[in-house]
Each structure stands twice: as C-alpha cells, then as structure tokens.
C-alpha cells in the first residue's frame, strides 16, 4: 500500500493540537513547557515529512530538524532555569500566580 503524505501529516497535526491544548489549559509551568515541546516536535516532524516527500534527494530538512532539536534543548534549559527562579520567588509554579508583568 502506498503511504501518502497525509499519513504522516495527520499525526503531526494531532501532536500540535495536543500541544496547543496543553499550553492553554495547564496551570503548571512545567506542564506548559512539555506542551511547548510537543508543538516544537510537531514542527520538526513537518520538516522531515516535507523533505522526504517534496525533495527526496536532499537532506536539508533533516539537518534543520537536528538543529532545531539542539536549540530546543538549550531553550528548555533556559525555561527550566526561569521556572526554578520563579519557584524560589513565589513558592509554586502556577502560571496564574505570575501576572505582574503587564501595562
């Protein structure tokens, strides 16, 4: 059976929607971070998919994915550092408790 591009894209979209949903509904910042990573993974997946189907001869999409994973790891480290500092300051990691940064 010929596997069309949709078979890959649909899981990617599902992954992305899960991420969005998690990011909008979870109050714990760690959980939000995990949701964020889901969205990022979905984007990475798209890179690979489109590379595989549209430009089968080349490897750029794969390479970008590798870069994105590395950057995502660095970004996660920063996010974790921020979250730890917030935890030290206010005693929990509830996102609804940090709404001072406005106006």
């Amino acid at each position: 059976m010929d596997i069309s591009i949709l078979w890959y894209l649909v899981p990617s979209v599902i992954l992305f929607i899960c991420g969005v949903y998690g990011f909008l509904t979870r109050k714990n910042m760690i959980a939000m971070l995990i949701s964020l990573e889901l969205m990022l993974n979905s984007a990475d997946l798209n890179f690979v998919i489109f590379n595989r189907y549209l430009f089968p001869g080349s490897m750029e999409g794969m390479m970008f994915t590798l870069f994105a994973i590395a950057i995502a790891a660095a970004e996660t480290a920063i996010a974790i550092a921020l979250i730890i500092n917030i935890y030290r300051a206010i005693g929990n990691t509830n996102v609804t408790d940090i709404k001072e940064m406005k106006f």
Partner: protein, 649 residues
C-alpha cells in the same frame, strides 16, 4: 615682493595665540608675557619692513610714475563653491593697508608691553595674552584682505576677540553683559554687511577689491537699473555694507555697545576700542571708496550718520563721570569725524581753488585715523595708569593727581592737546585737513564739525582738569597714588612723542585715494578758526574746572533735565531696552510664542493625547495572563490562515 614676510606677519600672532592659548596653563606668567611681547615685537618689525618697502623701495610693482599701486602679494583659493563663487585669502598691499599695518602692530606692541605691568596680578594672565594675539592676527588679516569676503571673515574674528576681551573679567556680571551686548549689536550690524556683500557680489560676480575699486563705473553698469524699494541695488548694497561699518565703528544708532565695552581691561580698550578695531568701519568705507563715490546717496548716508553721531557723542562725553566712558564717547565722535571726512571727499564736488584737490577728505580721514590711533591709545593707556593708581574709573575719586603722577600727567596732557587740535601736536594737522575738506564741500558741514571739534576740546580738558587739578582727593593720604611701572610708563612716553611729531609726517605723499601724491598745505583761515575755537573751549574748561568751585554744580542745577539726559546718553540704552523687551519680546515674540504653544504644540499634543486615550482603552487586554496571550495569538493565527485560505480559493 617675497611672500615670506607677509605670511610671517599673519603667522606669528596666530601661532602665539595657539601657543599661549594651549600651553598657557602650564606656563609661568613671565614666560607667557615675554613670549607675547616678543612675538608682537617681531611682528611689528616685519610689518614696518613691509610697509617701508612698499612706501620707499620704488619698485615698479608698488609705484609707477609716482602713482602708488595696489599689489597682491599672494591670493590663494580657499573655498571654491562654484566657478564664480570662489573665496580667496590673500595679502593686499596698498597705501592704506600698509599704513594700517604700522598702526596695528605699533599699538598692539605697546599694549602688549603695557599689559605686562597693568595685568600683572590678574588671574588668567596667559589667557589674556592669547586673546590679544588672536585679536592682532584678526585685525592684521582684516586690513590686508584682498577681497570683501576675506574682510568679512576677519571682521567676525575681530568681533569674537573683542567679545572675549571685553568679557575677560568673566566673574563680573557687568563685564559679561557688556561682552554679550557688544557681540550681539555688532553681529546684528554684520548681518547687514553680509547681505550687502552678497548683493554686490551677485551683481558683479567678484569679491575682489581690486576689481571692484579699479573700475567702479563698470560695477555700476553691472548692477544695471535693478532697483528695490525705490533705490538702486547698488545703493542698497553700499548702505548695507556700511551698516557693518556702523556696527564696528559704533555709529548711531548702533553705538550702544562701545561705552559698555569699557568693562574690559583698559589696555584692551586702548587697542581694540580706540585705536584699531573701531576704525574698521572707516577702513571699510575707505577700501570701498570708489564704489561709494559712484553712489552719492550712500555717501550722503555715511555723512549724515557721521555728523549726527559726532555731535551726539561729543555732547554725551561732556556729562560722563567714568573717565573711560568719556574717552569712549570721544572715540565715537572722532571716528564719526573720519566718516564725515570720507563722505565729503567725493569726486563729483566741483574743484574750486587751486589747492582743493578732490579726495582731500579721504587723505585727511586716513591721516586722522593714524594720528587718532596714536593719541587715543595714549589717552586710554594714561587712563589705565590712573585707574591702576586710584582703583576707580570715576573722576570723583581723582583730582589733583598731577603732583603724584607726573609722567601720566604730562603724557595725558599731550594726548588732550593732540585731540583738541592745538599745534604742533598731531591732531591739529589731521583735523585741520578734515575741516578743510568739509568747508570745501559746504559751509554747513564745516561749521557743524567745527562745533564738534570745539566740544571735543572742551570735554577733553574738562576731563583733564577734573583728574589732574580740581581738588586733591582725601583718599590719597591712606593710599598714595603713583606712576605705573616702566612697562606702563614707556608706552606712554613713546606714544606721547609720536603724538608730538606725527603731524609733521607728509601724509599726503603716502596715502591718497588714487595713489598720486598730494602736498598738504595748511589753509590759514580754517587752521586759525579751528585753533581759536579749540582755545576758547579750553579756556572755558579751564575757567570751569581748574580750581574746585561751584560753577559746574550750578550749571547742572540750572539744566537738570539736559544734564541727566546727556549723562544717561540720551536714553539710547533705555530705547533699545524698550524696543527689544517691550516691543520685540513683549508683543512680537509673545504672539509668536502663543501661536507656537496653542497651534503647533497643540496639534502635536492632540496626536499624543489621542494615542494615549486609545492605548488606555485597550490596555486591559494586556492582563499578565500568559495563556490569554497565547489564546489571542492562536486564534489570531487561525483567523489569518482562514483569510489567506479564503483569498487563495
């Protein structure tokens, strides 16, 4: 002529300015003073060499068939804006610039020397010498200018040096305001000067003096029939150029800065505000003389302004208490004398008797410029000695000083005799020539200026008697006044000697309007009348002021309004105050400010207010909930995608 000397004449003072100005802070006073004096001395020697070469060498570039030529030693392009608009810097030698080289370097050298004694204990001694050098440089550059634009550049430079030196005692509020006043008033006049220059050069395509003055008819023709507001463009240009001269030479109504400029150190007053810078206006008219002759209306303007100023300043000088103010008004009056003399020297006056050469007034004016520079510098330096001795500018703190300060007394007396026009002192000869030129033009000019000359003799001897005779001031017992140190006495003595003999210089052989020699001969009638008038005025002053008496006080009591008006300089300062503060600031500026505040600013404020209101209305959306932002962003992205999708299908 070799160009080394002329370049050095300009280079030495500016180099001194840089050395003393930059290195002055680490330099002991003595070094700075000696450097300044030596620099100026060298410059004076070089200037004398150049001037003597010009007058006596007989080289064909300087004199052809007994007619002195204008000679450009060098003329280099400094700024070339377009093919026609080219600003050059150069060195022009002709009779008047050679004479001015002598005047400037002589007076400047003596002032440098004198200041060593006078300014000895003042802070900022090195700075003072630096500014003096800057002034000397600018003034020398002004007189040797080959073109009117170079003159304008140096004209502004002397203005700046004058500003710096008037405000030398910058901790005194009066000195600061006087320096600002001098700068603003002369700067205002220079605006007219600049417009005049641009007008003239726009029509003639040149800045060069030689081209402008060698063929003034052509200049007139270039301007053609262009008129503006009822007068020809040439008239406007010449009057506007003269306006610059009015500012620098303190002609009415732009004279108000000069009396206040006396706040500066006295040697500075002698150098800048008596001998050199203030005659720049006369020099300018003399430089452009052929052009002025082409435009009788502008020459009339020069004459009328000069005549009114001469009389006004002489009257005011009779009622001043501050001795430097008397001398300042005397300077204004004498410069106005020179202006009138230039104005009556026009070519078109019919030549009557055998000795009435046209241009007599020109020669006389330059002669008086020369002698006046010497004796007025002498008087100012003498006044400096007096102020140094009694620590006050007012004659009320003086009186009976002749026994205490013999050198100052005798030199001051010579200065007074010279300015009053008593033979054989220098002022007599030059003033006589000027008066002869005025009588030659019309009896009215002659009579008017004879009256001014009489007033001159009167106020100078009033001053002389009130300082040196009258009655001894009781303060002398605690603080005995004495002559200054040798640095101050030597210039006085030398300048007094010059004032004794300068009248015998056959000036007409050197400086005339067309370069041809002119033999001066005294006109007996004019000479006798003017001497008689001067003697009567001196006698009157002697009768009134020699011994302490109550006649002056009675006179004052008899005419209190007139005395007060003359003492307050006929309220010119108040008039200016009224015009600037009440009319310009109060009415014009305030209405402009209202427009600015309520229309221009209000429009801008309106934009700001609308933006602020709008942002206040929607700022609730930024509520600090991160997830709310993400939701907005997400739905925004979806909506955008939907729009794009709809557009595509």
């Amino acid at each position: 002529m070799d160009i080394t000397l002329p370049i050095l004449i300009l280079a030495i003072p500016i180099a001194m300015f840089l050395i003393l100005g930059i290195g002055g802070v680490v330099m002991p006073r003595k070094v700075a003073g000696v450097l300044g004096i030596l620099g100026m001395g060298t410059c004076a020697v070089l200037a004398y060499t150049v001037a003597f070469t010009y007058f006596f060498s007989g080289a064909p570039e300087f004199i052809i068939d007994g007619v002195r030529q204008q000679f450009q030693v060098f003329d280099v392009t400094w700024l070339a804006f377009t093919d026609k608009l080219v600003v050059k810097l150069g060195f022009l030698l002709d009779p008047i610039s050679a004479m001015m080289l002598i005047v400037i370097t002589t007076i400047s050298f003596f002032v440098h020397l004198y200041s060593w004694g006078y300014m000895e204990h003042e802070p900022g001694f090195q700075r003072y010498y630096a500014f003096l050098s800057l002034f000397s440089f600018s003034m020398l550059g002004l007189v040797v200018a080959t073109n009117i634009f170079q003159m304008y550049i140096f004209w502004e430079l002397v203005g700046v040096s004058s500003y710096l030196l008037i405000g030398f005692f910058y901790k005194l509020p009066s000195a600061v305001s006087a320096s600002k006043k001098a700068f603003i008033v002369t700067r205002f006049a220079d605006l007219g000067f600049l417009i005049g220059i641009l007008l003239l050069s726009y029509y003639t395509d040149t800045f060069n003096f030689q081209i402008l003055t060698s063929n003034p008819e052509l200049v007139m023709a270039e301007c053609g029939g262009a008129t503006f507001m009822g007068a020809s463009v040439m008239t406007w240009a010449m009057v506007l150029i003269f306006m610059g001269g009015m500012g620098k030479s303190a002609m009415m109504p732009l004279h108000i800065w000069l009396p206040d400029a006396m706040e500066g150190p006295t040697p500075v007053s002698a150098l800048i505000h008596a001998a050199t810078m203030v005659v720049a206006g006369v020099y300018l008219v003399a430089r452009m003389f052929p052009c002025y002759c082409q435009v009788p209306a502008s020459m009339d303007f020069v004459g009328v302004v000069g005549a009114i100023t001469a009389f006004y300043a002489a009257v005011v000088a009779c009622c001043q208490v501050d001795i430097k103010r008397v001398l300042a008004f005397s300077t204004i009056s004498q410069i106005a004398f020179m202006m009138v003399s230039l104005a009556v020297a026009r070519d078109y006056i019919p030549v009557g008797e055998h000795w009435h050469a046209p241009g007599l007034g020109y020669m006389a004016s330059m002669f008086h410029l020369f002698t006046h520079a010497m004796f007025k510098a002498l008087l100012f330096l003498g006044a400096g000695c007096l102020i140094h001795a009694v620590h006050s500018n007012d004659y009320t703190a003086m009186g009976g000083l002749r026994k205490y300060m013999p050198i100052t007394h005798w030199t001051f007396l010579i200065g007074c005799l010279a300015i009053a026009g008593i033979p054989p002192f220098s002022g007599f000869f030059s003033k006589d020539e000027m008066l002869a030129a005025m009588y030659q033009n019309s009896f009215f000019w002659g009579a008017w200026m004879s009256m001014v000359a009489g007033l001159t003799a009167f106020y100078m001897f009033r001053l002389y008697y009130l300082i040196f005779w009258w009655e001894e001031n009781p303060h002398y017992k605690e603080h005995k006044p004495h002559d200054g140190p040798w640095q101050m006495s030597l210039p006085l003595i030398i300048l007094a000697l010059v004032s004794c003999v300068a009248g015998f210089i056959p000036f007409g052989e050197f400086v005339t309007y067309n370069g041809e020699p002119y033999h001066i001969h005294l006109e007996a009638a004019v000479a006798l009348t003017s001497v008689a008038i001067a003697l009567i005025a001196i006698a009157l002053a002697t009768w009134l002021y020699m011994k302490k008496n109550d006649k002056p006080a009675k006179m004052r009591a008899a005419l209190p309004t007139l005395w007060e008006a003359a003492h307050r300089r006929f309220y010119w300062d108040e008039i200016y105050q009224f015009i600037t503060h009440k009319i310009i600031f109060g009415i014009i500026c305030q209405s402009i400010a209202w427009f600015d505040r309520h229309v221009i600013d209000a429009t801008m404020d309106g934009f700001a207010k609308i933006t602020q209101k709008g942002s206040l209305a929607i700022r609730g959306m930024q509520n600090g909930h991160i997830q709310a932002y993400v939701a907005w962003y997400f739905f925004g992205a979806v909506a955008l995608a939907a729009v794009v999708w709809l557009c595509i299908i």
